[in-house]
Symmetry: C2
Subunit: 311 residues, 2 copies
Amino acid sequence: SKSTGQRVPPPVVHYHLNNLTTSTTPIENRESVLILSPLARFYPDYWENLLKLSYPHELISLGFIIPKTREGNAATSALQAAVANTQSGPESKRFASVTIIRQDFEPPINSQNEAERHKFENQKNRRAAMARARNSLLFTTLGPTTSWVLWLDADIVETPPTLLQDLASHDKPIIVPNCYQRYVNTATKKPDIRPYDYNSWQDSATADQLAEKMGNDEIIVEGYAQMPTYRTLMAHIADTAANRDQTKAIPLDGVGGTALLVKADVHRDGAMFPPFPFYHLIETEGFAKMARRLGWSAWGLPNYFVYHYNE
Amino acid sequence: SKSTGQRVPPPVVHYHLNNLTTSTTPIENRESVLILSPLARFYPDYWENLLKLSYPHELISLGFIIPKTREGNAATSALQAAVANTQSGPESKRFASVTIIRQDFEPPINSQNEAERHKFENQKNRRAAMARARNSLLFTTLGPTTSWVLWLDADIVETPPTLLQDLASHDKPIIVPNCYQRYVNTATKKPDIRPYDYNSWQDSATADQLAEKMGNDEIIVEGYAQMPTYRTLMAHIADTAANRDQTKAIPLDGVGGTALLVKADVHRDGAMFPPFPFYHLIETEGFAKMARRLGWSAWGLPNYFVYHYNE
Ligand SMILES: Nc1nc2c(ncn2[C@@H]2O[C@H](COP(=O)(O)OP(=O)(O)O)[C@@H](O)[C@H]2O)c(=O)[nH]1
Ligand SMILES: Nc1nc2c(ncn2[C@@H]2O[C@H](COP(=O)(O)OP(=O)(O)O)[C@@H](O)[C@H]2O)c(=O)[nH]1
Ligand SMILES: [Mn+2]
Ligand SMILES: [Mn+2]
């Protein structure tokens, strides 16, 4: 009873979801951001870029899911060292919390090189496994105080430091920058950029007709010559000029997950990453469709770039 | 900076989901259970029954979602008083943690009497709103250490004290007892029991054919004369004899949510409560279908009873 109690009676934690804002001025409103990264390999440049984000780190929580493989073990050690370093370094760089989850199912493909990953036949299983990883991470880390979720692949090595503020300023339920890749152009021998992620698109009549003729369990994946969809790919409509309008936003029907800002309420409503074909879409593309079914919309920023690691 | 740091650097929390068990001996394995209740009204008998659960309370976390209405405000006050009382009472009765969330959307029907709730036309909107409430609660409270989720409606006023152990002993991904209601039989003038929840069922060819002819956005709901489905309803195949086999388990295609034990990994995989028609099913029935699409199965215990409040 009261006086003999040794355990401290846990407090009742009472949250008003309706007092949580997701605004165009998230810093002023002290809005919490959860950055979620599925991670198979640790890239120091990814971590360096994360550290440079100018959103107050005390409002940022990090969550990682790492496969329980040999490569995953190495990535976990490297990540833990980076975290320990940051969390004992300058206060302004420390994050509010860091959760690392080890994944309890096998990744379907052992080889992780880009060519093997992108083979058409491998896409369905691979993306279903990625969807399950994203769901595990999301369901396990989203808390009552989270306003925003930023999905950020662990191989995104360069973004503007104002990424969170810039994306939030559009006040969209779901918003995705254009994911490009730096490379050396063999023709010009100069540094150049090229599209990387083809999963952000606007629907086409052709893709709709494709879907209608498909069996229930078939999926449409983007970026394969075997299956021309005639969708409008955000990757292809970028303006790369220096004086481009980086704030231009377009509505999207499918989104990629390399960098993706989501109002936490969209996930709370039930929007997850379907590991099964959902209107013939899967993972992040299926997520956009599911969010739409729940009444939310997805948007893309064709002229605002983030950069994927180049193997 | 190390030495001048005033904030304690937050630890890295590292979880191995694959070390989390969901076993037939959950107490011995110290498995954490999250009991989730959408709550529109507070019934003291619900709380009394919860207190009587013989599963170690220190392994049980509670989560509630309460609509932000006048009735919800009253329910919140009553719940908070009960929680405060329990958490300052005998240690063995205290729960590990309690989270109360206030829902930020309007419940679609203001009247909460049983007849109004159950009107056929009201079912789709009402159950979509319930699905969103369940998802909000789930996404917000499921943590990295949760092994099991028990969904328990706030008007379930009587269960065996061994409910958790009994359900877990079957080692099923999803398992649901038979939800009945006590009443006074007007014919015999004696206390009697009758079925309450009709959402646990096995599919029928008729329901399948109904579904095939339906528009994409139509749903099948159970228990309405307008739409005979010829499904096998668990409510109707109960053996109520004193010497019945309470451990009898049958496979189910749809489940109700009045009392429902789910391995947390089923939710982590992405199984939620679709607020939109999913294979013409919605909310808990849609959940069972979605879990099936993810490779999990649902089971029912026709002869194991829990009791719904009788208005
Ligand atoms: N947890 C987990 N993460 C993975 C797995 N495979 C890839 N990743 C990570 O998920 C993200 C996307 O995967 P990636 O292979 O880069 O996809 P791609 O760039 O679209 O070909 C990256 O951050 C990877 O490190 C996996 O099996 N499990
Ligand atoms: N959060 C929330 N809970 C609700 C709402 N409506 C009902 N509930 C609760 O959800 C559970 C199921 O609802 P109830 O009306 O009893 O459903 P029925 O018994 O199937 O008719 C009960 O625990 C209710 O207290 C709502 O709008 N929001
Ligand atoms: Mn990548
Ligand atoms: Mn009820």
